[in-house]
Structure formats: C-alpha cells, structure tokens
C-alpha cells in the first residue's frame, strides 16, 4: 500500500472534497482547497519514492518505477494547473475539483500499468470525469462537445477493449509485460489484430491522424480549464501507456510497428499543423496544434530506442507547460462569467503587445515553445526527438519533424503578430483582469518553459532515468 500512497491520497482527497461539499456547503471553495492540497501532497509523496527499487505490485498488474513516478508528477501538474485555472469560477459547480482529481487519478493509474486491466480502467477513469467536465458549463456548445467526446470515447474504448480481448486470447494473460515470453502459443495469430486494435484505440485517445476529427470541436466547446486537462493530461496518459505497451510487450515486433507508427506520426505532424494554419479561434488552434504535437510524441515511440523513449518523456513537459501558458492567457482574456460564451479569436488579441505587455510576453513564450524556437523548452524537445530519430537511423523521421515544424510555424506566429496590431485595443484586452491563481499558473509555465530551454540538463537527467524502464524486459 505504501507504493500506492499518492493514488490513495488523491482518491481520499476526492472523497473528502465530496464530503465537504455535502457537509459544509456554506464554505465555498473548500473542496478546491482540499483537492489542491491533496494533489500537492500526492506529488510530494510520489517524489519521495523516486529512488524506489522497481517492482511489480497488485498481482503483477502495476509497476512501481521511475517511469510511473514521472508520469504521476506530470499529470499532477496538469491537474493542479486545471484547478488553478478554474479557481473561483463558481459556474463550473462545486464538484469541479473532485472530478478533476478523479480524472488525474485515472492518469496516475495508467502510468504504472503493466497489465491490460489497469490500462482499461485507467483510461476509463480518466475519460468519464472529462465527459462530465466538458459539459460542466451549462451551454449548448459544452453539451455538444461532451456528447461528441463521449461517443468517440465509447467507440474508441470499444476498439481498445476488443483488441485487449484478442491479445488475451493470443497469450492467455492480461499482463502485457509477460508477452515477450509467450511467443509460440496456438492462438498467436490473434496477436497482430489484437495489437492493431489496441494501438488504434489508444491513438484515438491520443488524436493521431486519421483519428483526430473529434479534437477541435471538443476543445472549442469545452470550458478552457477542462480543455487544458484534455490537452495536457490525456495526452500524457495515452502517450505513456502506448509507449509502455509497445516497449514492454511488443519490442520483439518493433521493426514492424515502428515504421508504421513513424509514417502515422509524420502524417499527423504535417496534417495537424497544416490544419492549424487557417484557425482564428485560439482554442481550435490549440486543438490542431495538439494533434501536431501528438505526432511529435509518436515519433519518440516509433523510433523504439531508449533515446526515443527519453525524448517522448521529455517532450511532454515543455508541451504541457506551453499549453498551460496559452490556456492561461485564454482564460484571463475570457475574464469573468459570461466571457466564455464567445471564443477568444485572433482579433481579440489586438493591441495586447502595447496594452498588456506581460500577458503578451506569456503568449509569446508559449507560442515560441510550440514552434520550437531555442531558449524555450519546445526546442530542446524537438532537438531530442531529432536525435532519437537519427540514433534509430531513420533520417526520414527527422525530416518529418522538420517539415511538420515548418508547416505549423505560421500558425503559431499569427497570434503573435495579431498582438501587434495598432488599430485600437480589443475589448477583452482592455477589460481583462489578473487573478492570483492565474498569475501563479502563468509564472510557473513561463519560468518552466524558459528554464527547460536554457538549462535542460536536470530534466534530461530525470528523463534518462525514468525512461530507463527496460528493467522488466524479457520477463
């Protein structure tokens, strides 16, 4: 139980938060505080386990290793930023933080999964609260986004489940880390369709082209803090579990899926960024950009070498920080109640560089990190990926990364140019107000993004340790 303490803390926090909502309804925001403390405590507790000896727990279906701990920290960051972005926003409802915590709990479970059961449960536990959260702002758009998300989620979970069933049929066990040992079973012909369906199911969640159509609508319709959780948290969850399944269970077949995923990744990077070009709504822009970045993440998996795993792990953090920064800007521009009913568009950024230079700086840092400009974390991430591709002797992947980056460049620069428009200042820029929670989020995101870009060594070190999870290989 010691090893599951972070999870228990978060689950306990969620229950306590519910009790607080029911028991002390007079104290508004108490649940938010409880959950914030719980998430922070879970993060600290997980960090203290860093030097733990890797081991399997819970009937061999969960692993405790640095990979899982790193994932835990990442998703807790996503959760905390989401809580802070929605701070004091009463129209989300008191239960909002509880649902965020439950979703984060699902992601944390995914991080350590070594069996298909926790993979399925983790994905469901992370998705179910998100369906509700997407509809949590009582508008028509929110409902539609939630509906779309729900249907596609159920569909992709069905695909995932059936693939898992086939894998189970092929190997007689659900513990995927044991698959390499079971190669010559009578039903082994089920392995390939099973693997294909599992990968398709997860790539749906990761929004890889051609399974990406749902993303922009859902991102646009959902409340901004929820979109933040979707863009950062679910991406972390889906990407790391895909890596774990493929790297543990199927490294023997790597030459087959590696190349295929690589093509998909290149396609995703180019298509996602291409579709981002004409967007004027910032949240849609981020949706398409998220698709493109999922392609970058997939490159790290497709190279199927240790550098690729490290690079993917590394890339998650700068991507997440940049996303948080931009979402925070959107959130601040949305302002108070009612401001969310109309999306933030490029014209809403007009005059920001002159009127709100600090906010403009935040957006600049976020967008430049998305674009992969040096001295931001995004650049180091891309560099790492190129390195992994070349170490895997696949220059085609590297060229794909470069082309994808180039295609998306203009999409990330247009908001920056919009800030410099001189003809007047948009209403939103003029009336926006800093909130304390927003400032905290923004400062962490900007300092983190630049910090990783200027001095990446600590993160490189952490990542090289946490991606070193081949300790189970051959098991």
């Amino acid at each position: 139980m010691r090893y599951l303490l972070p999870e228990i803390i978060v689950a306990g926090g969620a229950l306590l938060g519910l009790l607080a909502i029911v028991g002390v309804p007079k104290v508004r925001g108490l649940a938010s505080w409880i959950l914030l403390v719980a998430l922070l405590a879970a993060g600290i507790d997980a960090a203290t386990m860093w030097n733990v000896t890797p081991s399997l727990i819970v009937y061999n279906s969960m692993a405790i290793d640095k990979y899982g701990i790193a994932v835990t920290e990442l998703v807790l960051l996503a959760g905390i930023s989401t809580l802070l972005l929605a701070w004091n926003a009463e129209y989300f409802g008191e239960e909002f933080p509880v649902l965020v915590a439950l979703s984060v709990l699902g992601m944390m479970g995914l991080g350590g999964a070594t069996s298909l059961i926790p993979v399925f449960l983790g994905i469901e536990l992370l998705s179910l609260p998100l369906y509700i959260l997407a509809a949590s702002r009582h508008t028509a758009e929110g409902g539609e986004a939630a509906l779309k998300y729900l249907l596609l989620g159920a569909f992709s979970s069905g695909i995932l489940l059936f693939g898992m069933a086939l894998l189970y049929g092929a190997t007689s066990t659900l513990i995927f880390v044991a698959y390499p040992g079971i190669a010559s079973h009578a039903q082994v012909w089920l392995l390939w369709p099973g693997l294909a369906l599992v990968v398709v199911g997860i790539t749906f969640k990761l929004a890889i082209v051609p399974f990406h159509m749902w993303v922009p609508d859902v991102y646009e319709g959902s409340p901004t803090p929820v979109t933040n959780l979707m863009a950062f948290g679910t991406k972390v969850g889906a990407a790391i579990i895909l890596l774990r399944i493929l790297a543990f269970g199927f490294y023997g077949q790597a030459s087959a899926w590696g190349l295929l995923l690589g093509y998909l990744a290149v396609l995703t990077m180019i298509v996602g960024n291409l579709l981002a070009l004409p967007q004027t709504n910032l949240k849609r822009l981020l949706g398409y950009s998220g698709i493109g970045h999922a392609g970058f993440l997939l490159i790290g998996i497709a190279t199927h070498n240790i550098q690729g795993a490290q690079a993917m792990m590394f890339y998650l953090l700068p991507y997440g920080l940049a996303a948080i920064a931009v979402f925070a800007v959107i959130r601040l521009l949305e302002g108070g109640p009612g401001g969310e009913d109309r999306g933030v568009t490029l014209t809403d950024l007009k005059g920001m560089a002159y009127q709100r230079p600090w906010l403009a700086m935040v957006l600049t840092v976020g967008m430049l990190s998305f674009a992969g400009i040096p001295l931001t974390g995004g650049f180091v991430g891309k560099f790492f990926l190129v390195q992994a591709a070349l170490f895997a002797n696949r220059p085609g992947f590297a060229v794909g990364i470069v082309v994808g980056t180039l295609v998306g460049l203009a999409a990330y620069l247009r908001p920056l140019q919009a800030m410099f428009q001189r003809d007047g200042v948009s209403e939103r820029v003029r009336t926006m107000r800093w909130s304390a929670a927003g400032v905290v989020v923004v400062v962490v995101a900007v300092v983190g993004t630049i910090g990783i870009g200027v001095y990446p060594q600590p993160l490189v070190h952490i990542v090289s340790q946490s991606a070193n999870f081949y300790w189970l290989k051959g098991g």
Partner: protein, 479 residues
C-alpha cells in the same frame, strides 16, 4: 569572466531597459551598449578569453565561447554597430524596441563567439526572434508580412541544419562512443559518401539563406525595405555576416573535404550571385534597395573569397566582413536620415540634396566611396586580398569579380548623383543635426583607420585562420 560580461551586459541590459520608462529607454540602452563596447575594448587588450562550462553533459554540450581572430572583430562590429544603431533610433519607439535591440546584440555576440555546434545553433535561431518582432511591431505597412517571411525562410534553412547538427554529432558518437558538439572535435568525421552531400547541403542552405546569397534572398527586399533604418543597418551590417561566417566557422572545419570537392560549383554559384546582386542594384530606383542588392553582391564577394580556399582569399573575406559591416551599416543609417528628412525612398525624385544638406552629402559620399572599394578605404583592402586569392586559384573568377567592381562603382555613383546632385527639389531640407554627426564621425574615423591599417585586423585573424588554412593546404587547396 569577460565572456560572462560580454553576454550578460546586453541580456541584463535588455531586461533593465524593459523596466525603464519609454522616454528613458533610449538613454538606458545607449549606456548598456556603451558598456558593451567597453567590455569589447577590454577583450582587445588581453589574450583571447574563453568560457568553457558543461551545459548538458548528457549530450556532451558545452557552453563554450571563444574570441579567436575569426570572431574577435565581428564581436567588435556587433558592439559598435549596436551602439550606433541605438543612437540613431527614434526615441519614440519605446522600451520594448530597445529591449529587443539589446537582446539581438546578446544573440549576435553569442553566435559569433560560440564554438560548440549546439550553442552555435541555439544562437543561430535565437537571433531571428528579435528581428521578427522588430519587423512586426516597428516597421512599415508591409512589415508584418516581411517579418513572417523573414522568420519562415530562415527557419526553413535552420531547421534542416538542425538535422545536420545532430547528424554530425551522431556520426561522431558512432566512431568515438560519446556525443560531442565541439566543433574542433568534429573534424575528420567518417561521413559516408551517401550522407555527405546532404549534410553539406543543409548547412550551406541555412548559411546562404541567412547571408543572403542568390537565389535564397526572397526575404531580403521586404525586410530591408520595411525595417526602421537602424534595424536594417544591424541586419545588413551585422547579421548578414553570420551566414558567411558560418561557412568559415562550421563548414570549413567539419566538412572541409566536401567544401574542397564542391569548390568549383560553389564558386560558380556565388559568382552568379555576385553578378546578380550588382545588376539588380543597378536597376533599382529605391535607394534602400540599391544598398540591399549591393550588400548581397558584397556578401557574394566575401563568399567567393572563402570558396577560393586560399590563404589570401579567406583572410580577405574575414577582413571584408568587418569592414563591410561598418560601411554598409552606416550607409543604411544615412539613407534612413535621408528618408526621414524627405519622406521618400525613390531617389529619382530626391535630387539636389547636397545644396540643402552639405554635411549629409559629405558623409554619404564618404561611405559610398568606401563601399565601392576606393583605395585607402577598407573596401579596397578586402577586395584586393580576395582578388589576390582568386587570381591564385582561378583567374576567370577574378575577372568576373573585377567587372562587378566596376559595376559597383557605377551603381553607387548613380545613387549618389540621384540623391545629392542636380537641381534641388527640396529647398527646406534640414541638414544633419549635432546628435547625428556625433555618432557618424567616430564611425567614419573607424572606417578610415581600418582602411589605412588593415593589418590591425588581419594580424589578429591570421593565427586563428591558421588551422583552417592549414587544413586547406593539406587538401591541396592552397597554392
């Protein structure tokens, strides 16, 4: 320690300037730039200092800066030109403008000083950002389009170069078992004959776009034309050198054998670029465009000197980089003054300026003559050395270069005549004021000093070029 100062002064200065009021920003920026010039002066005194710290040990990336002879005077050029550009800037541009200028100084300093390939690449891209924002926020009507074009074209080159940078390190890793980006360790790599042309190509493409050389100059007319005069001066005077500098700093040590193998093709390419620039300069009616294409032509001349792979040619190129930076930068600043005084850039409608503004005309003539290579002024010394290298290597190119020099004299004098001579159209033009003369006079003196004493630069440059040239000798390239 000196390096920390060199990089820290503009970086911290940029942040400090951002905190000043808009009106105090120009003064503050000027003080910072002056401090930087002082730091550079300190650099001149002692031995070439280096900064060498571990940065990302996991990848063998080091924070390694050197002020060798190749970089030393480019650093000085950056410091001086930034100071002058700040002095020449309109105080109303505000603090963000001066902040970006200082940030650009920081990035250029880092770019010229870096001898770690990763570091070089970082600064190579970082330097694009301030220009992008300066073009976007503080330039003419088409500035935003120009900024986008600038960034996208340059990133097109540099992102492919990123693959090259990583590939070089990975190849080094395959032979030695450890990653390193130190340029001095990346020589004599066993590059496969399949990969070599691609590697060379991605580096050369990035350098050619940044310079720019024909036919990669698509961003140049818009950016040079739309940017405020001080920014254009920095672009043409300082940043354009980064491109040709890259050939010397990166390609010669790392892919010298390939450079040697493709020598003739490269020389034909830059010779075309040289002629193209000169001819385009001849048919422009916009005075900024004349200088822009003239600059392209000169950069081709520098590249021609490098590709000659002769001691004289490379030395001349090194010298001309600095001299050209000073001269063309000043020329753009003066054109900026002219534009500000008359409100027009079309020199066909600007005749007779020297009657109303004799001082302006005098300085203009001085820098125009320097640019076209009048003996006694630095343009001549550099071009002479390059020609010497070309004659040694292949006389044909020397002939082309000589013809282009004549064309250069033609378009420069055409420009001068167009603006300064003839019947005055602008009776009310105000001559330069004391403030403007104050920054022009030292610049003119500097140019004159370099012109009569080129050994001041070449003397420093020779030792550090020794290795490069020595390598070329080993390849049988120097006669």
């Amino acid at each position: 320690m000196l390096w920390i100062g060199l990089l820290g002064i503009p970086l911290v200065g940029a942040l400090v300037v951002l905190l000043l009021s808009d009106r105090a920003a120009k003064l503050g920026a000027a003080v910072v730039a002056a401090l930087e010039v002082a730091a550079f002066a300190a650099l001149l005194g002692g031995v070439a200092p280096t900064l060498n710290l571990a940065w990302i040990p996991a990848w063998g990336v080091r924070l390694h800066f050197t002020a060798d002879g190749l970089a030393l005077f480019l650093l000085g050029l950056t410091a001086v030109m930034t100071l002058v550009a700040i002095c020449a800037s309109n105080v109303q541009y505000g603090r963000a403008y001066f902040g970006w200028i200082l940030f650009m100084e920081f990035a250029s300093m880092g770019l010229f000083g870096a001898v770690d390939l990763f570091l070089f690449y970082i600064f190579w891209e970082v330097v694009l950002i301030p220009i992008f924002f300066l073009l976007t926020g503080w330039s003419g009507a088409k500035g935003r389009a120009a900024g986008l074009k600038w960034l996208i074209m340059n990133l097109f080159g540099s992102l492919f170069m990123l693959i090259g940078v990583v590939a070089v390190a990975v190849i080094h890793n395959q032979t030695t078992g450890s990653l390193s980006f130190e340029i001095s360790q990346l020589t004599n790599l066993p590059v496969s004959s399949l990969a070599a042309p691609w590697l060379f190509g991605v580096f050369a493409l990035a350098f050619a776009i940044k310079a720019p050389l024909w036919p990669f100059h698509g961003w140049m007319p818009d950016a040079y034309g739309e940017a405020p005069a001080p920014v254009t001066a920095l672009l043409a005077g300082v940043l354009s050198k980064a491109g040709v500098f890259g050939f010397l700093r990166v390609l010669l040590p790392i892919l010298g054998a390939e450079l040697h193998a493709y020598q003739t093709g490269l020389m034909i390419w830059v010779a075309v670029s040289l002629v193209y620039g000169a001819l385009m300069a001849l048919r422009q009616t916009d005075m900024k465009m004349v200088s822009a294409y003239a600059s392209l032509s000169h950069l081709s001349m520098i590249a021609l000197g490098i590709f000659s792979l002769t001691a004289a040619g490379i030395l001349g190129a090194t010298f001309l980089m600095v001299a050209h930076g000073l001269m063309v930068g000043s020329l753009f600043l003066i054109l900026g003054v002219v534009e500000e005084r008359t409100g027009s850039r079309e020199f066909t409608g600007l005749m007779g300026l020297n009657q109303g503004a004799p001082r302006l005309a005098t300085y203009f003539l001085f820098f125009a003559l320097a640019t076209l290579g009048l003996p006694g002024l630095p343009g001549f010394a550099g071009e002479y050395m390059i020609m010497q290298g070309l004659v040694v290597h292949e006389v044909g190119f020397a002939v082309v270069a000589g013809i282009v020099l004549i064309v250069a004299a033609w378009y420069m004098l055409r420009l001068f005549q167009g603006i300064m001579q003839g019947r005055p159209d602008h009776p009310a033009v105000v001559d330069m004021n004391a403030g403007q003369v104050a920054w022009l006079v030292p610049l003119a003196i500097l140019v004159a000093v370099i012109g009569v004493w080129p050994a001041g630069i070449t003397g420093h440059a020779v030792p550090s070029l020794y290795h490069a040239v020595h390598f070329a000798v080993a390849q049988g390239g120097i006669r």
